[in-house]
Symmetry: C2
Subunit: 209 residues, 2 copies
């Protein structure tokens, strides 16, 4: 583990700034965990990560290395630069208290990515209603020919990661997912790091550590 | 054609109110045309139709008779009560000027559903940034096992329709689609009508007309 890795404890979330040109690396330290990612333009928070635009322009639902994540204004926000896993979801909203009630008939309060994102993004004055569909890192959603969805265990193995390059200055929200079904019924942490400067130089620096 | 049908001319859009309990019937008068639908809660326009929540709760991407379209606050907005066609899209954003530039390398201005929705919704003070992924009525998007999308001609035949019941008071935006690929390269109108009162009584009235 590099010194710069930050841990998101199980069933929690965080929010931070990501500068244009910098990389965000998201690591699944124990394997089979999901991390919901959302982004807003720092310059104008009414510009948000759009699943619909991204899927439309990619002409596919499974985004991986080389894919661009677009804003609602059709501007690139993030590019996937590396991807150990190759399976992420961009169809489903972050799990919310209502998710557990409607889908799983859960009684009482249940920690959720939506609530964790709301709380984490509050410091950037992003209201709950502004949180759209998240890019659900490592989430494994299969679609059959009839359009039915099946949520399987993430394909991520311990230590595998995905790297995004910021295409504009961004506010990022990020979680360690709270839904049992998404992470194979074991809540786990998520690690991330922000890599500044040319990525090759960063790699050499790491090898020398 | 019943007297209450309203025509949306080719490559245009409109917006109107729909009262809880009333039905919205959308008709494809000539066949193979797409109509992008969006909804906002009249009581609070920060509550919007959410593709992500709807797909999540339906556990499928192809919504049809019996499916509920949810808001970002996980409340039912519309229920599909009847559906002659059975194939609609809820993955892709309304075509926009950028769609034609990015996907089709179109030069110059191109009429688009997004712009038509922006203009139509302006009277309800809904800003462009608040328009999320639309429910694309009659749009035929196939997904292969690798997640690649193929947009085919709509399956709708002349006169076929879909009926939505409003589950809350709504502001509706609706278009006759402007994208060549979505409507088999021929721009056509879309008809709609608002049906008030019990739907069975309405049917009898129509037969008696």
């Amino acid at each position: 583990m590099t010194k710069s890795l930050v841990r998101i404890p199980p069933q929690t979330g965080t929010a931070f700034l990501l500068t244009v040109g910098d990389r965000l690396r998201i690591v699944d330290p124990q394997g089979e965990q999901v991390s919901d990612l959302i982004a807003f333009a720092l310059a104008d928070q009414r510009e948000w990560l759009s699943a619909g635009r991204s899927i439309d322009y990619a002409n596919k639902i499974y985004l991986t290395t080389g894919s661009v994540l677009y804003s609602n204004r059709s501007r690139p926000m993030l590019t996937i630069e590396r991807d150990d896993v190759g399976r992420h979801d961009f169809l489903l909203t972050p799990c919310s208290p209502e998710t557990f009630q409607i889908l799983y008939r859960h009684q009482g309060h249940h920690l959720s990515c939506f609530e964790n994102l709301v709380n984490a993004l509050a410091k950037f004055e992003i209201p709950p209603d502004s949180i759209p569909t998240t890019f659900n890192v490592f989430m494994n959603v299969e679609i059959d020919s009839e359009g039915q969805l099946t949520i399987g265990p993430p394909r991520s193995k311990p230590g595998e990661s995905i790297v995004f390059r910021a295409e504009m200055d961004l506010i990022i929200g990020l979680t360690a997912c709270s839904a049992e079904l998404s992470n194979n019924y074991r809540f786990k942490p998520i690690d991330y790091e922000i890599i500044t400067g040319p990525i090759e130089a960063t790699r050499e620096k790491r090898s020398a550590d």
